[in-house]
Subunit: 199 residues, 2 copies
């Protein structure tokens, strides 16, 4: 492709980034070489360090380089509330949007029997141990609103109820902003069925 | 932002890539950590190697890790034709699109007196040396169709003509595909003035 094997290799490696096709990879490679070699070196360093050192929190399974993540080790948070999400990015999204003071449990995926992903692969054995620990009064199920997410949610909800723990699910309904006209039918029907009285 | 300083740092470093904002940087960081740590390590390696080893071709100034790039050292190419472009990416674009068998000269920018970028900063001293070498019969000016690109082109064209070398410029006109209605006025007027008879 290019006259330099090293640049071809750099373009090829940049394609491991999600959403980066051949054109943007080429643009990125030339940009770094032309204008930001220091940035490239810094990126290389943090990539290496992160790939080596970031592991999973021993309590909630989110990404962290410590043994217990910052949220789990924060004494001021409410240990009786546990929000169950699919990925560390979901933790960030919730932390950024709401003033939630409970803890999280990160499944790092969802149940998917067809792909051979069972309860233990998403850490449910460890979650049940925490249920049995007796600290938790409510779990908030915040898996993705997909078929797999709903199924996972349902399964965990059962586990909680069997142990007398209250399980709640994020409300479904029309998202804020945009126009009703463009909201899909399934969401509309959820919003209709879940309508609330105005106070 | 995140509970892990290392991940925050990784997200920050990914933003040195062009077109990558906070959201995509976060998505990239989590993707690499969750699914492609080998890709992250490989990317780190090639970034480091490329940042250290890629320099400029001694003849045409394009990026290469060798002293003379693959195109300049290719004996089969026509050394009497020299195409002048602004960046190494332009060389790739032309090589990919047309069956050009001449050589290139890469300015690595354009004249921009306001930013203090004069003829020597874009290698015109070296270009004039090549003009005076006597090998070149025609230069093809393929700088960007911007004000600075046109000015640079004009300046180089003068240098060539003073030395009896033929200078040509890529044709301006309506691009292929799309609709005439959406072509801008300046382009349309160029296309109109440069109209060609049908044979």
């Amino acid at each position: 492709m290019t006259s330099s094997p090293l640049i071809t290799q750099l373009i090829e490696s940049l394609r491991c980034l999600p959403g980066v096709g051949p054109k943007s990879a080429q643009r990125m490679a030339y940009h770094l070489l032309e204008r930001d070699r220091d940035g490239a070196r810094r990126l290389a360093e943090t990539l290496t360090t992160a790939a080596e050192q970031v592991g999973h929190c021993a309590r909630c399974r989110t990404f962290t380089e410590a043994e217990i993540c910052g949220i789990c080790s924060d004494e001021r948070r409410d240990a009786s509330l546990l929000c169950v999400v699919e990925s560390p990015a979901d933790v960030q999204a919730l932390e950024g949007a709401i003033n939630y003071r409970g803890l999280y449990f990160v499944l790092m995926g969802h149940l998917s029997p067809l792909d051979g992903i069972g309860p233990e692969d998403i850490g449910l054995d460890r979650l049940v141990e925490r249920f049995d620990g007796g600290d938790i009064h409510e779990i908030i199920l915040a898996t993705n609103p997909t078929v797999e997410g709903e199924a996972t949610s349902h399964y965990i909800g059962e586990l909680a109820r069997e142990r007398g723990i209250r399980a709640t699910r994020l409300a479904h309904g029309i998202p804020l902003g945009g126009e009703l006209e463009f909201v899909d039918g399934t969401t509309l029907s959820h919003a209709f069925l879940g309508r609330q009285s105005i106070e």
